[in-house]
C-alpha cells in the first residue's frame, strides 16, 4: 500500500477565481488527444449565476481527472487497463480495456467518460497529456489557458503555491486546497473564492474509497482458502459422524439381531 501514497511528481493548480469559462482548455484537450466528438476528458464546473440582479456572481473551474494518489479507478478496473505511473499519472491502456465501466462508478470524482457513440468504445480520461510531458511541453489544457487558471508543474511547487495564495489572500479564497487530502490526496489541486460544494465538487473524506476496497478484496483469497478448508472439514466431520452413527446403528442392530438370534436359540 505504500506505493499508493507516494507523492505525485507533477501537479495542477487550478484557480477558480481566474477561469472565464472560455473552454479553450476543452478544445485543446480534444484536439491534442483526438477525443471523439461525442465525448470529452474535461468539463467546466460552475456555480451558475447566483444572487439577485444586479448583485450577481458566477464562478467556473475546469475539471478533469484528479490523478489521485490512491486512485479508486485503478483499484476497481477489472483488467489492468488503468494504472498509476511512477510520476503519479493515472494512465489508461486502451488496448486492454473491456468496457465494463466499473471505473466510472468507482471514481469518487465522477471523472471517467465513455465513447458512447462508438461501436467499439473506449474510456475517455485525462492522462495528463503524458506524451506532451515527454516532449517537455505542458499539458494542452494548462498550456493554452489564456488566464492561467490552470497551472502545471512540480506537485510540491503547486501545493506550496496554493497555500501561499490562500494565506496571502484570505479575503479572496476559501481557506482550503481541494485535492490536498480529498480521497487520499490528488495531483490536481484547486483554490476557489467560493466553497467547493457551490462549484459542484463532490464532498470527500481523507481516505480513498480504494482503501476500503482493498481491505475487502485483499482479504478475499484468505477467506476463500479458509472456506475450502472449513467446508471440507465440515463435510468430512459430518460424513464421519453419519458413518459412525450408521455403524453404531448397524452394530446395535446386529447386536439386537444376535440377541434375538441368541434369544431365538
Amino acid at each position: 500500500m505504500a506505493e499508493h501514497s507516494k507523492s505525485p511528481r507533477y501537479g495542477f493548480l487550478i484557480d477558480a477565481s481566474l477561469c472565464i469559462d472560455c473552454r479553450s482548455c476543452m478544445v485543446a484537450c480534444s484536439v491534442e488527444n483526438k477525443v471523439s466528438m461525442d465525448s470529452t476528458r474535461i468539463w467546466i464546473k460552475e456555480t451558475g449565476i447566483t444572487g439577485n440582479y444586479p448583485d450577481l456572481k458566477r464562478f467556473t473551474a475546469p475539471y478533469h481527472c484528479m490523478h489521485c494518489k490512491d486512485p479508486s479507478c485503478v483499484s476497481a478496473c477489472t483488467v489492468s487497463a488503468l494504472t498509476r505511473t511512477d510520476d503519479g499519472i493515472v494512465a489508461y491502456n486502451k488496448d486492454i480495456c473491456i468496457g465494463c465501466r466499473y471505473c466510472m462508478y468507482a471514481c469518487p470524482f465522477e471523472v471517467p467518460n465513455y465513447e458512447w457513440d462508438e461501436r467499439f468504445p473506449l474510456v475517455v480520461k485525462c492522462d495528463m497529456c503524458f506524451s506532451r510531458l515527454e516532449e517537455g511541453q505542458q499539458p494542452a489544457c494548462a498550456a493554452t489557458c489564456p488566464t492561467n487558471a490552470i497551472r502545471f508543474g512540480r506537485y510540491e511547487t503547486m501545493l506550496a503555491e496554493a497555500h501561499r495564495l490562500i494565506t496571502e489572500h484570505p479575503d479572496k479564497y476559501v481557506q482550503h486546497v481541494y485535492g490536498e487530502t480529498e480521497n487520499g490526496g490528488t495531483a490536481t489541486l484547486y483554490i476557489s473564492p467560493v466553497p467547493f460544494e457551490e462549484l459542484g465538487f463532490p464532498e470527500a473524506g481523507t481516505t480513498s474509497p480504494a482503501y476500503s476496497n482493498r481491505l475487502v478484496t485483499e482479504g478475499t483469497p484468505m477467506v476463500a482458502g479458509a472456506m475450502l478448508v472449513g467446508l471440507s472439514g465440515t463435510y468430512l466431520t459430518i460424513k464421519h459422524l453419519k458413518e459412525e452413527a450408521a455403524k453404531e446403528r448397524q452394530e446395535a442392530e446386529q447386536t439386537k439381531a444376535s440377541h434375538t438370534e441368541e434369544d431365538g436359540k
Binding site: 483488467v79 465494463c100 466499473y102 465522477e110
Partner: protein, 394 residues
Amino acid sequence: MFRKLLHELRTMPKFVYLLVALTAFGLTVGVYRMYAGLGATTNLSKEFPWGIWISFDLATVALSGGAFTLAALVYVFQFEALHPAVRPTVLAGLLGYSSVLVILLFDLGRWDRFYNVFAHPNFSSALLEVSWCIAAYSTILFYELSPVLLEKSRWKWMLNVIKKYTIPIVIVGVTLSTMHQSSLGTMFVIMSPRLHPLWYSMLLPVFFLVSSFAAGISMIIAGATVSYWLFGRSLKRKTLATLSWFLPWILAFYLVLKFGELVIANETGGLLSSGRYSTLFWTELVVGAIIPIILFAYERVRYNRLASMLGAFLVMGGVILNRFDVTWFAMKSVSHQTYTPHWMEVAILVGVVSGLITVYTLVARYFPVYEETIAYKPSPREIIQPEDARLVSV
C-alpha cells in the same frame, strides 16, 4: 418422427411460443446493440454507466443463490432430505448464470475482448473476482447438472466419473459462490461517494451473501411451487417446509446486520428523513424480510404451498429491490442526472429472460430434472384453484 415433432409442438404450452417470439425479438435487438454500440441503444451515460442490465444481473445471481445454498446443505451438511430439490435448483441456477453471462456480454463495451478478464487480471478489483467466480461457478453448475443430461444419453458411463468427484467439486462450487455473492457486494464498497448511506456499508459483501441465501431458498420454494402447477412436478411439501424453516433465521440475521450497521455507522438519522430513499429502504426490508419472517415462523405457512410461495415471492421481491436500489435507485450523481432504460435495453433483457424460461421449460419437459421428485398430472381446474392441489399431493 415428424408427427412426433408436430405433436410436441401442439402440446407445448402456449406461453412458450410467446417466449420464443420475445427471445427472438430481444436477440435481434441484441445483435443491433453489438453493431451500433451502447450510445445508440441504451440510455447509459457518464453519470449512469450501468443500468437495468447490471441490476438484473445482480438480482439474478442472488436468486440463483439457491443452487449453492442447496448444494451446501445437501452435500456438505448432508441434509439428505433436501436432495430432491438439487436438480431443478441447479438447472435454474445454471440458466440464471448463463443469462447473466449473456447480458454481461451485451453490457461490455468491448465484448470483443472479454478474454482480457483472464489475460490481464487486476486482483484488487471486485469485479474481477466476480467475473472469475461466475465463470468458474457456471462451469461447476454445468458439471453438477450434467447427470441430468447424461442419464438418457450414450455417455451414461461418464456418470460414474462425474459422481466420483461431485463432493470436492461441490465444495469448490460453494466456495466460489460464497465468494462472488459477497464480491458482488464488494463491488459497491468502493462507491461510498455514490451510493446512498442507507445502503452503503463496508459490510455490503456480507449483506449480499446473507440475502442471497434467503433469495436462493425462496427461489427454490417458489420455483418448485410454480412448476408444481405448470408441469405437475415438484418437491415434497416436507422438503419445502424444511427449506423454508431456514428463512426466518437468515432474514432475522440479515435485519440485525443491516440495522446494526446503520447504528454503528450512525446513519439511523436517514431512516425516515431521506424521502424516496427511506421509502425504498423500508419497502425492501418490510416486504423482503419482516413480513416473510412472520409468515415463515408459522408451520402452517411452511407446509402450505400457496402461502410459502407467496412468502418466497416477498423475499425475492425484497432482494430484487435491494439489488436494483444498490445499482440504480439509490445511486446518486453529483450532477443530479437520472437514468431510465432505453426500450432496447428492456427488449434485450426481456429477450434473454424469455430465452431462459423457454430453456428451463424445455429441459424440465424432456429431461429428468424432477426425476427424484413426485410426478403429478394437473387438471386445468387444479391449475386455476391451486389450494385444491394440496389434497392430492403426497
